[in-house]
Subunit: 776 residues, 2 copies
């Protein structure tokens, strides 16, 4: 049966499948849309205790003394903890644990935690926070990343303010700039986007009488969270259970530790009572992770015929007070800074820099959003100057499978860019764009249509662990429990896992029970980020399933005396020489004979052999590709912009659940619209000016356009049934496409996002002033 599983991977959908490739209703859908599902922060218990976090008063200050006596003596207060109460290592961080759990000497942003309180009620806890008296000595605030890199800036960490530096060089850009027919050079700025998940950071901690700690906290990687908790608590990780699913939205913002360590610390002081923390929206804005704002300087050289010759990029990302995944974000940005093109000469450099501006970390797109807007704007500017069609210039420069990318490596995995561009140029919106543009709703409103393409690495880069693991267990009642470490963070991977298992076990999807993100029930299968969970977790399930088939086939043969070759797997049952054997009977037989009823499947993500020098983890083995076509309408009197139509053309390999894919393309497009037009968390001098949804605008149904999805299924040999990943690239090219569509509509190029009405209005005004001036 193992051979059969092999045949099934990389099969581009030619076999008639029962579950795979079908519009299967999400298995987590009904309880989510009916509201029946309780998210973890929805729970309340009789004997519960409220936990709260005291935040730093200043963005940069030395702590002289922390007085907790008053807070402790407030009736109803159960515990007040400071750095002195941390039994283990006072720090966390996925790559470098540079963020204190509770600050001891210095605070570096107003999101920094200084003390924890547990109390009988939320109100008492809040009051107690006010009674913790922290003496500070103010320090100079570092707010400009470029200045932070200078020697005269205050240094926020022992090794200086440059957390990481990535540098990739190929060919000779100087010579290429000499030979070029056209050079385009611009500087782009991108915003500090908020994840804006509906469920803010929160969860539960409880320690039982034997000292076992259970943390129920929505997160993106239970095993790694457990490791970080254990390190801070100096506690045996085997005595900590982390349950990290379900989650009311994450998007990368719950990949790092949020409240898990606070919960565990408090749980050690509440005499076995469960403790809950749940951030208010304001606390989430100030203390939670954000997307790295970038400054990207790009200089691109091209031949007359549109062939890309050279690209020079310098990107500076503001990671705020702590690294989290900032180093990886800048590395991914640089890896993707030349787009899915083959540019022979590149000189690419990125810096991830510490400042006192909050904290930045993982976020859907992971650095690629910030550079795609630059390279794709350049592609359009080049096309215009050279008089080449924007689709043609892209098709001319994209790499195909087996070709050398701008990173200098041969791309061996499937590449769908060219196909997505072909679909784009033949879609209704693009073909009939002149007609649609002429249909603006008011005379002072102008329409523009544009497109952009991008790609996104799937999985971790070189040098990082990247594995999937799943188990399938036959339960006493005859159902199959499919347990996967990867959490369901809303992307629909639970349904994918059920589809893969049902397909391979030839049973109804209702016979599959999916369990995710629980260190006591699931194997370590890596994090739900990097567009990896369908691909990696799905492949792990597809590796476990044949083991279950073998086990039950052998068992049925042994039970009946029929030879294994004659055991048939029919829908929902196994038949041996005419005799139907239920799954339940198989379980009873196995148990009685002291045999295992559980099998495992493991999968190592294939990797490139050689790391690109200086790249910090590039290249990826596998990428997802996507082209967006958009139409906007700009109110030239106010600068207000509507996105009216979006066409999303993903290459996600074989699509396992079209409904799930559309959920991603639609959600991603809307998030991209918000990023391009509205969203930015403003911080001035280290203080948040933006503090809530009252002044942070995200797209609502009013701003959501018609979104069409036309997948290009470029099957990937290594993926489950040929699937790749898509979770991130769905929000990327739309950014540049909207920017270019605004230009198409108004003639104004926006290089500083978000493209707010003010920025667009001013750009149009400036344009008019320039036009009014006599030519020099």
């Amino acid at each position: 049966m193992k051979a059969e599983a092999k045949n099934e991977k990389g099969n581009g959908g030619n076999t008639p499948f029962t579950w795979v490739g079908k519009r299967v209703r999400r298995i987590d859908g009904p309880e989510k849309v009916t509201g029946e599902l309780k998210y973890m922060t929805d729970y309340q218990y009789e004997d519960m205790v409220w936990g709260k976090v005291l935040r730093a008063k200043y963005p940069h200050a030395r702590i002289k003394e922390i007085h907790v006596e008053k807070a402790k003596s407030l009736p109803g207060v159960i515990a007040v903890l400071t750095h002195k109460d941390i039994p283990g290592f006072n720090g966390f961080g996925i790559v470098v644990p540079d963020q204190p759990v509770l600050c001891s000497d210095v605070v570096r942003c107003t999101g920094d935690a200084v003390a924890l309180v547990a109390a009988e009620t939320s109100e008492i806890a809040e009051q107690a926070l006010g009674l913790v008296d922290v003496e500070y000595e103010l320090l100079e605030v570092v707010s400009d990343p470029e200045k932070a890199m200078g020697k005269t800036s205050p240094q926020l960490h022992p090794d200086g303010n440059i957390h990481s530096h990535v540098k990739i060089k190929n060919g000779n850009v100087e010579d290429a700039f000499q030979e070029a027919d056209l050079i385009i050079e611009n500087t782009f700025y991108s915003p500090r986007q908020m994840h804006a998940f509906i469920e803010t950071e929160g969860g539960w901690g409880k320690m039982d009488e034997e000292g076992f700690i259970t943390i129920k906290c929505p997160g993106q990687y239970a095993y790694r969270d457990r490791m970080q908790i254990a390190r801070a608590l100096a506690y045996n990780p085997e005595r900590i259970r982390v349950i990290s699913s379900p989650i009311g939205g994450a998007f990368g913002g719950k990949d790092e530790i949020t409240v898990q360590i606070y919960l565990a610390l408090l749980a050690m002081h509440t005499n076995g009572r469960p403790v809950k923390i749940h951030y208010s929206r304001e606390e989430s804005v100030v203390a939670g992770m954000k997307r790295h704002p970038f400054k990207v300087q790009m200089k691109t050289a091209v031949k007359k015929d549109g062939t890309l010759l050279a690209n020079r990029v310098r990107a500076v990302g503001d990671t705020g007070a702590y690294a989290s995944l900032g180093g990886a974000v800048i590395a991914l940005a640089i890896e993707h800074s030349c787009g899915p093109y083959k540019i022979p000469n590149v000189d690419l450099e990125g810096f991830c820099v510490y400042t006192n501006n909050g904290i930045a970390g993982a976020f859907r797109g992971f650095g690629v959003n910030q550079v795609c807007m630059a390279i794709e704007t350049h592609m359009d500017m080049i096309a215009e100057k050279l008089g080449i069609d924007p689709v043609e210039i892209r098709k001319k420069n994209v790499y195909h499978q087996g070709e050398v990318s701008s990173m200098g490596h041969v791309v061996k995995s499937s590449v769908g860019t060219h196909k997505t561009l072909e679909v784009a140029e033949n879609c209704d919106l693009w073909k009939n764009r002149e007609k649609y543009k002429a249909e603006a709703s008011e005379p002072w409103k102008k329409r523009g249509v544009s497109l952009a393409t991008s790609f996104h690495g799937i999985g971790m880069g070189i040098g990082l662990p990247d594995y999937g693991a799943a188990s399938i267990e036959l339960l006493p009642e005859g159902k199959f429990k499919v347990a996967v470490g990867c959490e369901e963070i809303g992307g629909g991977n639970s349904t994918v896992y059920a589809q893969v298992a049902a397909e391979m076990l030839k049973c109804d999807i209702s016979n599959i029970v999916v369990v995710q993100g629980d260190t006591s029930q699931t194997l370590d299968g890596g994090t739900v980020t990097a567009s990896r969970s369908t691909y990696t977790g799905g492949r792990a399930v597809a590796t476990a399933a044949p083991n279950m088939v073998s086990l039950l086939t052998e068992t049925a043969a042994e039970m009946t005396g029929v030879v294994m070759e004659k055991i048939e797997w029919l829908p929902n049952r196994i038949v041996a020489a005419g005799e139907t054997i239920s799954y339940k009977r198989l379980f009873d037989y196995l148990y009685e004979h002291r045999r295992k009823t559980k099998v495992e499947g493991h999968f190592m993500l294939p990797k490139e052999k050689e790391e690109i020098k200086g790249s910090g983890g590039a290249p990826h083995h596998l990428y997802g590709y996507l082209t967006h076509v958009v139409m906007v309408e700009v109110d030239t009197l106010t600068g207000e912009t509507d996105v009216l139509r979006v066409v999303s053309i993903p290459d996600a390999g074989k699509v396992i659940n079209p409904q799930g894919l559309e959920g991603q393309t639609e959600g991603g497009a809307v998030m991209g619209i918000g990023y391009t037009l509205f969203e930015d968390v403003l911080i001035e001098g280290g203080y948040h000016k933006t503090r809530n949804f009252t002044d942070y605008i995200i797209p609502t149904i009013r701003e959501t356009p018609i979104i069409e999805t036309f997948p290009v299924e470029e099957a990937e040999e290594s993926g489950p049934f040929g699937a790749k990943g898509i979770g991130e690239v769905v929000m990327i090219p739309i950014i540049a496409a909207i920017m270019s569509a605004i230009y198409d509509a108004t003639g104004a190029r926006i290089k500083h996002l978000p493209a707010t009405p003010e920025r667009i209005y001013n750009a149009i005004k400036q344009l008019k002033e320039q036009e009014a001036q006599p030519a020099r």
Copy 2:
């Protein structure tokens, strides 16, 4: 039944136990003394492959290029790997992973690994090493730790050559020095001792067809080794099994990664064939860990009546090219640098410094050896100058339970120093020392008798995880499988675990099967270092056992319908209202009813609440104490010294196995003799002058004196049956005692170890020359 377990801890041996406190024959003894046991490096397999490591040619050089083509093309070579073949993070190290698995840019000592070879035979592998061509550019060698700390020295690591700096200050030493009646000030040097385990570093690696990797490699912490392997391989740790027991000697030298990562890397390239690495003695000398050589400057102030007033210490430890546990070693040295005394004013400072002198790491005593020799020599010098008896001056200054130590913290756990000193002054050797001293074997041989006392922290310090875990499983045949993460590294903990389990389960010790150090069979229970495994692992077994008693009592009641209170635990059986129920019957019943047959026991080592500022992890909650009395005979013509008699008076709490304790006190004393008189790995300009046992002398049976052990059983409430730990302090005070006994015999004070015949001869000669000079 849980209450019963509680009663049993901290019980100082008043209850008549069946197994605990008895001279139980080591359960691992017979197969070890008969040679029946195969150590892991003893195995050979038909299809095996030999692995070898290419070491750096120079102690400090830049790698320009590594050419492996010739080596790869040698017939019989299966793989040649360099840093480029490391899928994950190229580094290891328990605290800071600063040691490359395979060097890529710089080599920092001649033990550095540059390439790995796998070949059909050991000879071919050796030949292939010679064909790997590494181009180097020589760099200036850093060999003096004091110079390494200066700004003009080449910097070996990004953060400079000072790996760690510990500084503890209490009271006011300057004022105390002003007020003192006597001040003693000296500088001491200690050697680079070799662990000299009989089984050098080695082991096996194998990857099966499903990608599961098994590493069989003698080590001291299988779970941590697995983590370090997984990090380097970027591999799911759940797919790596590490078996780390049995071990042919460790003593701290196998606490860090030795060959585990090399084995795993090679195993990925041998098509499923098992690969073996086994260092020659020379390779072990050059590449293995050693004890940190120290320079200790000490200035001690005292009142006329012998009351210690102040101590100033500056210690510099040479950690060689990499940190490993160097930071912890210097921290422990400083914590113990004032001895088990209460000195109100202290100013203590320690530096752990990088050089190109090999690599230093964990070693029995862990920094305390190097400072005990200083403070105890000072105690004797003070006693002599003030005319106070050496026992009296110690008894006057030692802290008792509940008193404040020199660290400024109240010692809450049991303290046996005073009792050990009382036993010392009443022992035959001390009481009749003048008589024994007069019995020298030749007129030119002089005898001296002296004593010294010391202590050693048990377990990790503050901020580090410190937990024990054990499981007990009822096996189908009715035996109990006791599984403990802590390895049997020769100290006898396997017998201790069996004794504790047999005692509490009321069965014969032959009914206990002990399994240790195997990530697939044992829970993570921490490392076998820091004198912690009897205490921590024993307590974990003692916590698991009552859970097994409960389980079987309940089961017997259910089986028979007899009420639980009437279920009797008699030796080797359970009796319910007269009916004997065998363990086997209990197993069958539990299995049939789908119940668990395994229980767990967990234990967190109690810790102090507050860390001493600047101490890097002090204080410990618990210490073991020990006083040594020794008699030496010095040949004044050659300087050659024999240790003739040793009395070892340990306070290990309740002694679980007197035979095991004696194994420790005897082995420790002999190791201390070697350290004091013979052993030193000489390195000049980064090159090892000492390379084998031909020029590294360790004590043999000829140098082994009569060793008497008189334990003081100061029961520790938190330990299993009142036990503490003893593995390290057994080798510590003997060092200072021998140094003082040489003085007693000859009048020559040796402050630079080892006290070789040359050093003693020269010291005696210098003394005679001084005496010959007319008094000025």
